[in-house]
């Protein structure tokens, strides 16, 4: 293998599994260390810079970082990264003074943001400090988009959301709330230099063709519409018996909200086996905890109503047959099952909808009804118009919307300055030695064996009575500290310098997880078979040195490195050093990173 090029910023970036997995590339270990140091405000700001909504995401994020966490490969459970983010948000001090301070000198450019959700707000935050005049249009009466209309208050209190939306609006955004944009042509005619579309995926899928669907319309609701009606207090009750159709997170929100609005016998019914449900495992767990059974392998057959009043639904029992990785749902032949219901919530997915975009503007759509985009720049075929969030590449999640918002903002800024959209700013990176003494590092290198701490929940008897009462209580500062200590500090990199190595083997001998091998070079497959410990995880890189004096090379399998620093402590010549790697996605206008000052 060729020697690893550690000058490539992506190499060490990939070693920080959590940060690499995060769509917005939040510097996770950095803020976790700040939490452990009780520097909650700074921890919040590290988050705010990259993911814009730490308080919201600390409660509701899909957490792609956690399955990626190295700790999950070393022991059972990853670090509770998401809930630590909340610790930073819950305990922060004055963050506003650390944010960009307006008024900002105008740069003469004017942009429109259609939609007031996470993607558009991210664009607003990134571009306003650069002097853009930002106009934000939304049909709701407050900002937040789906975070407000679809995420129930018992998971995300209004105060948390409003505060974080407020941080952005206070930068000096021209808001046009309660304004539904009916025509893109109309917006384009208003002289904006660029337009950003972040209208989400606002249309819930229906079972329009299912027999009986239109016989009891008052009792059959589309999940996201119903949740929005609850959020905006147009709906305040539901029948005692409720069926929720669908296995995603919206279905979990629907069933749990139903329990709070009078639903006593609430069931979630899914077509496929439960293990294939799209909802996050913790959301499913929370629903089960609230006495909501999940019935699997039930395919909806018909709605039954009498005189316009819903009585229930028929379902066909199926089983999943897997053939060459393809799944088929095959009827078991058992008689159809009737489940009584006063109300049914249909939460089987959502779609994009752009009825307000005229099709003769030169803005092309693909066969799925999504705009044709450059996936790197988020520019549409109409150069002035950019997309982000669920509206861009289909429904994902808040953190993805934020990440896309950042990239769209970069593009818009380049576009407005007549620069190439493909010459994007490189990430801000820094590599700093952590050495203080023979056995002392700036970071806490000790590896605790604590297992993952559980987030305390408010008692069910209280939360089911009040739909606004938050269920999760968050970690206390003490538990937060202990959980933070579980982080392996994967951003503190093991940096190897060939010409200092005397090949004494001390590092290979001491390494607790046997990551290091000195051997003759070869091809990757061959090398992986010859290392001191099994190296089957090909998603994790091998760090290969240049040839050493004896003709061998140093190979380090990054897979289960604990970043404990023992290799560097036992190295007599400092050929190994522990160096903290900071990586931050550069934002529009190359604004300086908070990481430079912490």
């Amino acid at each position: 293998m060729k020697p690893t090029d550690i000058q490539n910023p992506e190499y060490f970036h990939k070693v920080v599994d959590c940060q690499y997995a995060c769509p917005a590339h939040t510097p996770v270990p950095e803020y976790i260390r700040l939490i452990a140091a009780e520097r909650y405000t700074e921890a919040y700001m590290v988050n705010w810079e990259s993911n814009v909504f730490p308080g919201v995401l600390g409660r509701t994020c899909d957490r792609p970082c956690e399955p990626a966490c190295r700790r999950g490969r070393v022991e059972e459970e990853p670090v509770a990264i998401c809930r630590l983010k909340r610790v930073a948000a819950d305990n922060k001090g004055d963050v506003k003074s650390m944010m960009p301070q307006g008024p900002f000198a105008p740069n003469g450019k004017k942009i429109a943001l259609i939609g007031g959700g996470p993607a558009a707000l991210t664009v607003a935050r990134d571009l306003t400090p650069l002097g853009y005049e930002v106009h934000l249009y939304d049909d709701q009466n407050k900002g937040g988009g789906m975070m407000r209309s679809q995420i129930p208050s018992f998971r995300l209190p209004d105060s948390v959301l409003s505060e974080e939306v407020g941080f952005i609006l206070d930068l000096g955004i021209h808001t046009h709330f309660n304004t539904r944009v009916e025509s893109l042509k109309d917006i384009l005619s208003q002289g904006y230099d660029a337009v950003f579309v972040g209208t989400g995926a606002p249309k819930g899928k229906d079972l329009a063709d299912l027999p009986g669907r239109w016989d009891a319309q008052a009792n059959i609701h589309i999940g996201i519409e119903w949740l929005a009606n609850v959020a905006f207090e147009h709906t305040s009750k539901i029948g005692k018996k409720v069926i929720v159709l669908g296995g995603g997170n919206t279905a979990m929100d629907c069933c749990r909200t139903s329990r709070r609005l009078g639903g006593e016998d609430v069931k979630v019914v899914v077509r496929s086996p439960r293990k294939e449900m799209k909802a996050s495992p913790w959301e499913i767990e929370d629903a089960l905890h609230e006495d909501i059974p999940i019935l699997e392998n039930h395919v909806p057959k018909s709605f039954v109503s009498e005189n316009g009043v819903l009585k229930g639904m028929y379902f066909e029992k199926v089983e999943a047959i897997y053939d060459n990785g393809k799944r088929k749902l095959v009827p078991t032949g058992e008689p159809d099952i009737f489940i009584e219901a006063d109300d049914v919530l249909v939460a089987i997915g959502q779609e994009n909808s752009f009825p307000w975009i005229e099709r003769d503007l030169g803005l092309e759509f693909n066969k799925w009804g999504l705009p044709v985009l450059d996936e790197k720049t988020f520019q549409s075929t109409l150069p002035k118009v950019f997309f982000g969030g669920d509206a861009a590449l289909g429904p994902k999640n808040v953190i993805t919307a934020v990440a896309q918002g950042h990239q769209a903002a970069v593009s818009i800024d380049l576009y407005c300055n007549q620069q190439s959209l493909y010459e994007r700013p490189s990430p801000y990176t820094n590599l700093i030695s952590q050495k203080m003494g023979i056995h002392e590092w700036i970071y806490d290198s000790d590896v605790t064996t604590d297992i993952r701490y559980k987030v305390p929940h408010a008692d069910k008897s209280l939360t089911l009575k009040d739909r606004k009462k938050e269920v999760e209580l968050g970690f206390s500062q003490d538990t937060g500290f202990k959980e933070a200590q579980r982080c392996l500090n994967c951003d503190v990199q093991t940096v190897f310098t060939e010409d200092k190595c005397i090949e004494c083997d001390a590092c290979a001998d001491i390494c607790p997880t046997t990551c290091i091998t000195f051997t003759i070079n070869g091809e990757e497959d061959d090398l992986r078979s010859r290392l001191n410990a099994p190296a089957h995880n090909v998603e994790q890189e091998l760090y290969v040195s240049d040839t050493l004096k004896t003709g061998r090379v140093m190979i380090k399998d990054e897979n289960v490195c604990l970043h404990c620093g023992l290799c560097a402590e036992r190295c007599p010549t400092s050929a190994w050093d522990m160096q903290k790697y900071l990586y931050s996605v550069t934002k529009a206008g190359c604004q300086s990173s908070i990481l430079e000052t912490i």
Binding site: R73, H439, D446, V447, A506, D509, C515, E569
Partner: protein, 350 residues
């Protein structure tokens, strides 16, 4: 701050035939200097015992005093241990071995502990062919007292402070051969591919096995001019053969080139394979070994590998025809066989 080794180990690390992971053969974290050759030797011992499926409780590790003699704390923490007086490890090992021949005896000593204060003990353990592995962690200096030249320092070797050693160094390998040792090897802490099979072979040997391991002292004897530095040893090392160890229970699957290879079957049925032998070398020929050693010395080479082995070796127990059982398993009737036995014995002297 890390003085404690993290508890996590590689989750896919396999266990050996007796159900132990390699980590079960580890000791506490070393307090020797970073980069000390001794730590590599400890690592080799751990690896050898793990790979040989030795149950840790069947090993007794013994040592004297010095940097080397601290190391038994850094390996085989589940084994028996005795950290004895300076240079007196062979006596303690002799006593322990006489009392219980069922254990595997692993003595660790240094160049001071062996070639100076313990010389008298060392030579008699060899002379008696005590069944043990005697590892000398040889760094040519007194690392624990700031690096004065030891008795194995080569004449002309320059110390860290710049003084040139005026005295001849004691060659432990040559001396052991002279004294009739039945397994004599030299190795280098920085070459595990050689050291690990040597340790395995030595543990399989019936009788006294000496491995003189050059083990650079990174703090006091790794300077230019020293003949025991990493660089010097690597530049002057001359391996007698590539060494491979095949345990008894495994079939030999590697095919070796005719004429260039010698396979020596050891006492326990395992086989040491010596490949790419220099000049038709036979490690069972003691005189040839002595000549080759002298030649290497004249050529300024550091000869490593298995220098001599006598596969027919008889250890002390066999020589003195002691009981096959450990003393702690002897019952009262074994120890006091009664008046009639005494009568028979007395009759013999009448």
């Amino acid at each position: 701050m890390t003085y404690i080794k993290p508890k996590f180990r590689h989750p896919e690390m396999p266990k050996n035939r007796v159900g132990y992971a390699k980590s079960d053969y580890e000791g506490v974290i070393s307090t020797l200097c970073a980069g000390c050759g001794h730590d590599s030797i400890s690592g080799s011992i751990v690896q050898a015992c793990y790979e040989m499926d030795i149950e840790p409780h069947r090993v007794a590790k013994l040592s004297g005093i010095g940097c080397s003699s601290k190391t038994p704390n850094y390996f085989l923490n589940n084994s028996h241990g005795f950290n004895s007086v300076h240079g007196r490890m062979p006596s303690v090992a002799t006593g322990a071995n006489m009392a219980n021949r069922d254990l595997i005896y692993l003595g660790v000593s240094g160049d001071g502990d062996t070639a100076s204060i313990g010389m008298g003990q060392f030579v008699h353990a060899i002379r008696r062919n005590l069944n043990m592995l005697y590892i000398v962690m040889n760094n040519g200096c007194y690392g624990l007292t700031k690096g004065q030249d030891s008795a194995t320092a080569d004449a002309g070797s320059v110390s860290k402070s710049g003084s040139v050693n005026p005295f001849e160094g004691i060659d432990l390998v040559g001396m052991a051969l002279e004294l009739g040792a039945t397994f004599v090897a030299r190795s280098f802490s920085g070459d595990k591919t050689q050291l690990v099979p040597l340790i395995k072979a030595a543990l399989s040997h019936n009788g006294f096995a000496l491995i003189d391991v050059l083990s650079p002292c990174v703090t006091f004897n790794n300077n230019p001019g020293s003949t025991k530095s990493y660089d010097y040893v690597r530049d002057h090392i001359e391996a007698l053969a590539q060494i491979g160890y095949v345990p008894e229970k495994e079939e030999i699957t590697v095919s070796y080139e005719e004429g260039s290879t010698v396979g020596v079957e050891l006492h326990d049925g395992s086989v040491v394979h010596l490949q790419k032998l220099a000049d038709g070398w036979d490690p069972r020929d003691r005189q040839a070994a002595m000549r080759r050693l002298q030649q290497a010395k004249a050529d300024g080479e550091i000869l490593t590998g298995l220098v001599y082995v006598n596969p027919e070796s008889k250890d002390l127990h066999e020589v003195i025809k002691s009981d096959l059982r450990p003393l702690n398993s002897l019952k009262e009737e074994d120890l006091c066989p009664g008046a009639s036995t005494l009568e028979i014995l007395n009759e013999e002297f009448r």
